[in-house]
């Protein structure tokens, strides 16, 4: 069964904003999704991420063992930031998209659905 990463993005300017009440309301929405997707057996994993300013991006120059360049911040400075992700196991893209449409991030921001590579599949 294919796996899909549902990557949850939200506008950068809303990061860390909102009152504790707002936060509790959104968390309650995520709990509903977690319960529903969990009960349906499609939820394989997922995490919420700390704000994007806690991110460190690294790149190694000249191959393995080379110098590591650290950049303070996420990979791409865009108006949308990655806030968390789910790993969903679904029969096809349609099912994955229908679950993605139930993730609160889909109405608070955007959800990108990416199929995961299955290394057991011969090619």
């Amino acid at each position: 069964m294919p796996k899909y990463a549902a990557l949850i993005y939200s506008p950068a300017e809303t990061e860390g904003m909102g009152t504790p009440e707002d936060w509790a309301k959104v968390m309650a929405e995520y709990n509903v999704f977690g319960e529903e997707a969990g009960a349906a057996g499609v939820l394989v994993g997922g995490e919420a991420l700390h704000d994007s300013h806690t991110a460190t991006t690294i790149s190694v120059s000249g191959g393995k063992g080379g110098d590591t360049l650290h950049t303070d911040g996420p990979f791409a400075e865009t108006k949308d930031v990655l806030g968390g992700f789910y790993l969903l196991e679904c029969s096809d893209l349609d099912e994955a998209l229908s679950w993605a449409a139930r993730i609160p991030g889909a109405w608070h921001g955007k959800v990108e659905v990416r199929p995961c590579v299955d290394f057991t599949e011969g090619q």
Binding site: P2, S91, D92, L93, D94, L97, V113, P115, T120, E121, G122, Q123
Partner: protein, 407 residues
């Protein structure tokens, strides 16, 4: 003879490919196998004659070729047992295969450009070279677009099935929009002139007929077919021998394909009497009213304006508004049309908005404003024939503007 055979193979190929994709679950393997079978057909048919059921013949041969390929490619061992199981059953042609293929190629997770290319390639059997010519892009670019789309279908597991009742409205829209875009590509070449021995309009009509055959109870599919047929029936008079745009008012209506126009009208009449009316049916009704008028001054503008009002209610937007303004101007005069063209969002870069507005100003004798507005239209125009038309109109109003001492 070979030309006829190639055409038979192209037309029948869509059905065969659709069945093969269902059996093999792989676009690439199905295409390779069909290609192999086509080679055999081109050798055998000239000698043995075309079989009574070309699609069935091709499917059987292609299925065996697919099995050969799987056996040869040992790297595919992990998939072999699965493929053997799938191919084990005799390949019964399933009428729904092509519908599955159409919905897969027109999946909303694919870009509209990718859908158009994939539908023409797989269902229409049009070669990549010809699709590239239709859309005026390099063959390599089109090949890459098609192969990326196929990779996405395989990698993301876009399902090969007919959508459920609940999904159907949204999914059907994607199919209709794809066919419509193929058709409009034939009518609005972005720049230069079209160069292909295949006509994108004919191909779009073929796909629309197929959709109607596959979904006979779907009124919007019939609406789309009628719209394309009646518009296509007038194509010979759209441009003059120099390739310039001829206005509807000036076209030689005796050259229109009356048979096709009558066919389209009867489709419109039959669907409009049934349930809820959708945007393609309304556009088909409007196009039919234009086609049915034997002379331009016999056009039923009152009814056309009503239909545009109906269309704007369910599908508002600048395109519908501009067309409605043209119809209302015919009923109540250019001032009424001009009133409808003040503050429309999202039309700044659209030449038809400016050229329509300029035409109203010209008819109202507001020469100075007409000059400025035709200039805006020219700035937005991308098509040589449209530019030639606008330049001649601009010359006319500029003459009047200076002639009346306007500036």
């Amino acid at each position: 003879m070979t030309g006829d055979l190639t055409e038979i193979l192209r037309i029948e190929g869509g059905q065969v490919l659709a069945t093969l994709i269902r059996l093999t679950r792989s676009f690439d393997l199905a295409e390779d196998a069909l290609q192999d079978a086509t080679v055999v057909a081109l050798q055998r048919w000239p000698l043995d004659g075309v079989p009574a059921n070309p699609a069935g013949w091709l499917t059987t041969v292609a299925r065996n070729k697919a099995l050969d390929r799987i056996r040869r490619e040992s790297v595919r061992t992990s998939k072999e047992s699965e493929a053997m199981r799938l191919l084990g059953d005799p390949p019964v042609a399933d009428g729904d295969d092509r519908l599955r293929l159409l919905f897969t190629c027109c999946h909303p997770a694919l870009s509209l450009e990718a859908r158009v290319a994939l539908a023409l390639r797989t269902i229409g059997g049009v070669s990549t070279v010809d699709i590239a010519r239709m859309f005026l892009v390099a063959e390599a670019t089109m090949g890459q677009r098609i192969s990326r789309a196929k990779k996405k279908i395989a990698g993301a597991h876009i399902p090969y099935r007919i959508p459920s009742e609940k999904e159907l409205p949204g999914r059907l829209d994607a199919v209709l929009a794809t066919i419509y875009l193929i058709f409009t590509a034939a009518h609005h070449a972005p720049s230069g002139e079209l160069d292909s021995h295949l006509d994108a309009g004919d191909e779009a009509i073929r796909l629309a007929r197929l959709l109607v055959a596959l979904m006979p109870d779907e009124p919007e599919a019939r609406g789309l077919l009628a719209l394309l047929v009646t518009t296509h029936a007038r194509r010979v008079t759209r441009l003059d021998s120099a390739g310039d745009v001829v206005l509807l008012a000036d076209q030689d209506r005796s050259m229109w394909d009356r048979g096709a126009i009558i066919d389209a009208s009867s489709i419109v009449d039959s669907v409009m009497q049934r349930g809820p009316v959708g945007p393609y049916q309304i556009q088909a009704a409007i196009a039919s009213l234009h086609s049915e008028a034997e002379r331009y001054d016999q056009t039923n503008w009152l009814r056309i304006a009503q239909l545009y009002r109906l269309l704007e209610g369910i599908q508002p937007g600048p395109v519908v508004r501009v067309n409605r303004a043209v119809a209302e101007a015919q009923v109540s005069g250019p001032a009424a049309g001009l009133d409808l063209l003040t503050d429309i969002a999202g039309s700044d870069g659209w030449y038809l908005f400016w050229s329509t507005k300029a035409d109203f100003l010209r008819r109202l004798g507001r020469w100075d404003e007409a000059v400025v507005t035709y200039q805006r239209a020219l700035e937005c125009s991308m098509n040589d024939t449209d530019r030639r038309f606008l330049e001649s109109r601009l010359a006319g109003v500029t003459h009047r503007s200076t002639g009346t001492g306007g500036r």
